[in-house]
């Protein structure tokens, strides 16, 4: 008998035996395996039956999942993490920004001038690319370097699965997985990191839902936009004593709107686009382990912070170039930026925004951090304000909120523009770093496109409705 024949015979025999063994082969095999496992385990494992008076794991579990304390503990920990991140990041952020913008930038300009660099090369490299990178690094790095290690410490300790356990019911109602609470929280630091974190969700449908909705968590790059706009447009409506409270409240409202959006879109996706995707819930609550602080800080810096930062830097270099180019390429007497702004203005105004904002969101797609500097620069370009800013294509920020308000109002901004910018900052496509990450994680162009188009469409609709309501109310 030839070898090939005997091989075919094996397959033939297997095919026939499969009918005989019946449909529950997998079940009986698993049973056999676990019977053996249990028998061996019984023989070799002994438990000190004198139950300790105090079982630490069980006590912690009782506490963090208790009806009365479970949610307050969760809120408290989240608040502490956010507070430490925000206050802790202030100092290094301003240090970095003064180093990059006030020391390095002029120094580079001088060096370029001394070297006799062509004006356009100097502009493209230093005003375009360098400034974009500088902005991204100084805004992004410090909070991420604080937020991620803190989050990772909670993760190493074993607390995060308990959060998923506490919140799962709400997520289940939206067709999602409790662990999505954690990827959402991660998204408040950085959406790209939040998307990577969806790996812990091992059910295909729920993981896609978490990936597609992560953008509804307001990321670190969008907080400054929200806070600035809320302060100058909404806070200023209230009496000075209450201004801080009112603007903080309006930012919180946007955050809650994002949470609402997450649940709504998750609910919709699980019943339409993702109905047919396989789904299996499982959530293991691992034993608590003392976190190793130094190692955690080291690995989370390397793994999360630096990788995400590197991606953002890579993407912001071409964006810086694009920003500089559109404002310095002149066609028919006006810069490309002015043409584009003019072209998009009618649509922008229709949905209560303007051409500047739309253009800024298009060319600043790599990082939300540079949206406000780009908006300011483009506003100066389009409104033709002399003496403000640093020149065409050079992003800048103003020292005081009132000066910013002055610039924006000179270009025709109203309260409506402010409100809609806050909404649009929540509801627009994820930055290109996040999109790239989504593409890497899902391996699908379709889902990447869906995660970009869905929020933009929602943003347009919501802004349009708000604009109509606002105008109708005579605002």
């Amino acid at each position: 008998m030839s070898p090939a024949n005997s091989r075919e015979e094996v397959l033939e025999a297997a095919a026939n035996l499969r009918w005989e063994v019946g449909p529950d082969l997998h079940d009986s095999l698993m049973e056999a395996l676990y019977t053996d496992a249990a028998r061996i385990s019984d023989r070799v494992l002994s438990r000190d039956d004198a139950r300790p008076a105090f079982d630490l794991d069980r006590t912690i579990d009782r506490l963090v999942t208790s009806r009365w304390l479970g949610f307050p503990i969760m809120m408290l920990l989240m608040a502490v993490v956010l507070w430490v991140t925000i206050t802790g990041a202030n100092v290094p952020s301003s240090l970095l920004s003064s180093l990059f913008l006030e020391t390095l930038h002029p120094a580079l300009k001088q060096a370029a001038a001394a070297a006799g660099l062509a004006w356009w090369l100097d502009g493209l490299l230093i005003d375009g690319m360098f400034l974009a990178v500088a902005w991204v690094v100084s805004v992004m790095l410090p909070p991420m370097a604080i937020f991620f290690p803190l989050f990772t410490l909670l993760e190493d300790f074993g607390y995060l699965p308990r959060v998923a356990f506490n919140l799962d019911r709400w997520f289940k109602m939206a067709g999602a997985h409790g662990k999505q609470a954690l990827t959402m929280a991660m998204g408040y630091g950085c959406n790209a990191a939040g998307v990577v974190a969806t790996r812990v969700i091992d059910s295909p449908r729920e993981r896609l839902i978490a990936t597609l909705t992560n953008n509804f968590s307001l990321c670190n790059g969008r907080w400054p936009t929200q806070i600035l706009i809320a302060t100058i447009f909404i806070g200023s409506l209230a009496p000075p004593a209450l201004a801080g409270l009112v603007s903080a409240g309006s930012v919180m409202a946007v955050v809650l709107l994002g949470v609402g959006g997450t649940f709504l879109v998750s609910w919709g996706l699980s019943r339409t686009l993702l109905k047919g995707e396989a789904s299996a819930f499982s959530l293991e609550l691992p034993p608590y382990r003392p976190p190793r602080i130094l190692q955690t800080i080291y690995t989370s810096l390397i793994d999360r912070t630096l990788i995400v930062l590197w991606r953002a830097v890579v993407f912001s270099v071409p964006a810086g170039a694009a920003i500089w180019l559109v404002s310095n390429t002149h066609v028919g007497g006006a810069s490309l930026a002015e043409h584009l702004i003019q072209g998009m203005n009618p649509f922008g105004l229709l949905i209560g925004l303007n051409g500047v904002i739309l253009l800024a969101y298009i060319i600043a797609i790599p990082a939300n951090e540079i949206v406000i500097p780009t908006v300011l620069m483009l506003t100066v370009v389009s409104a033709g304000l002399p003496g403000v800013g640093e020149g065409a294509g050079v992003m800048f920020e103003l020292d005081s909120a009132s000066a910013t308000l002055g610039v924006l109002e000179a270009d025709g901004w109203t309260l409506l523009t402010g409100i809609n910018l806050m909404l649009f900052s929540l509801l627009h496509n994820p930055c290109s770093t996040t999109l790239y990450t989504i593409w890497k994680e899902t391996g699908s162009v379709k889902w990447t496109a869906a995660s970009a188009l869905l929020p933009v469409a929602m943003g347009f609709v919501v802004c349009f409705c708000v604009a109509q309501a606002f105008r109708w109310l005579g605002g």
Binding site: P23, Y34, R58, D61, T65, A278, F281, S282, E284, L285
Partner: protein, 341 residues
């Protein structure tokens, strides 16, 4: 105006003709294809019926075909003629028989149907009621090479989710398994192998009883009027004529009798119980996941804590703490509950 009307009409007419008769995608062509498709669907369904009759050793007639297809007898007569013209079946008196070519054709359709049901049950999140409906359509669309590719990807599954065998690539099917439920003696245990889906009224009664393939049953009482048996902890009573439509495979006697009325869902924190079995409703990815975690007959499971909002519940399963949602726990049957010492 008049000068323009003529050319305009000509252009419109040309467009209309183009859209109607466009080769391949014209409206007329599409309409004809749809007619042909529904003709094809009907004859394929007819072949399936003939095959089922043959497999179950029943006689197929124009009347039984008309009942199975839900089509008037007059229309079926035309259909039978077409099938015979295609040399797919022959008639001997009133009874219809498949030719070898027709049998091969029928098996191809059944293979596509059962494979698609298997696919939907194992690899998508769709629920039971959707499977059959979708497979009824998909069976006419899948080419045999597509069906083969699908089968290969799923590891050539031998059975569909209802416990029925899937014909192989070469059209092989094992002989019918099982014996009628009525042939069991009192006290004997067996597993349901197949539920006969014709006549429809009887099948509907079986489904309403909550019976499904792979369910373990034990006969408790037999008389001329009724047959009583337990399945998954519930008492069922069927008329013998109905019970005859349930095919079962006897189980060895030495296995302990599964006695359970409850599921993990009723276990309160602080209680424990032994798992009796996973419901056949839990399948695909989810079933494999739960079994991997060690949820199998004989496993002792203790409920440890409940989420502050009531669901999920964390269970101690073979040393690990695993949270399960209420509807998952409801698919896991348990023996009697007891307080953890």
């Amino acid at each position: 105006m008049n000068e323009l009307t003529g050319p305009l009409l000509a252009v419109l007419a040309a467009l209309a003709i183009y859209f109607l008769f466009r080769p391949g995608r014209g409206w007329l062509e599409r309409w004809r294809r749809r007619l042909r498709l529904s003709d094809r669907v009907l004859s394929e369904d007819a072949l399936k019926h003939l095959y089922h009759c043959e497999y179950e050793q029943r006689v197929a007639t124009v009347q039984s075909l008309s009942g199975a297809l839900g089509t008037p007898v007059e229309k079926v007569a035309g259909l039978v003629q077409r099938i015979e013209a295609g040399e797919l079946a022959t008639s001997e008196g009133a009874s219809l028989r498949l030719t070898p070519k027709g049998r091969e054709y029928a098996l191809r359709i059944i293979r596509a149907h059962r494979l698609w049901e298997r696919y939907l049950s194992e690899e998508t999140g769709l629920k039971e009621p959707d499977w059959h409906k979708r497979a009824e359509q998909q069976e006419h669309r899948l080419t045999s090479s597509e069906a083969d590719a699908l089968a290969a990807r799923m590891g050539n599954p031998p059975f569909d989710p209802h416990g029925d065998p899937i014909p192989t690539q070469r059209g092989q099917l094992p002989p019918r398994r099982g014996q009628p439920l009525t042939s069991l003696a009192v006290g004997e245990r067996a597993r349901i192998a197949h539920l006969e889906d014709e006549p429809e009224a009887v099948y509907a009664q079986l489904v309403a009883e909550g019976l499904h393939p792979l369910m373990a049953v034990q006969l408790t009482h037999v008389s001329a009027e009724r047959i009583c048996f337990r399945a998954e902890g519930e008492e069922h009573v069927l008329a013998p004529i109905v019970a005859a439509n349930v095919a079962v495979v006897p189980l060895p006697r030495e296995q302990p009798v599964e006695e359970s009325l409850e599921t993990l869902a009723v276990l309160e924190p602080g209680q424990e119980a032994t798992v009796v079995g996973l419901s056949p409703n839990c399948r695909g990815l989810e079933r494999r996941r739960l079994m991997d975690l060690g949820l199998l007959p004989g496993t002792v499971v203790a409920a440890e804590m409940r989420s502050p909002v009531g669901d999920p519940t964390a269970f101690r399963i073979r040393g690990a703490l695993i949270a399960l949602r209420g509807e998952q726990a409801a698919n896991i049957r348990i023996g009697s509950r007891r307080q953890v010492a």
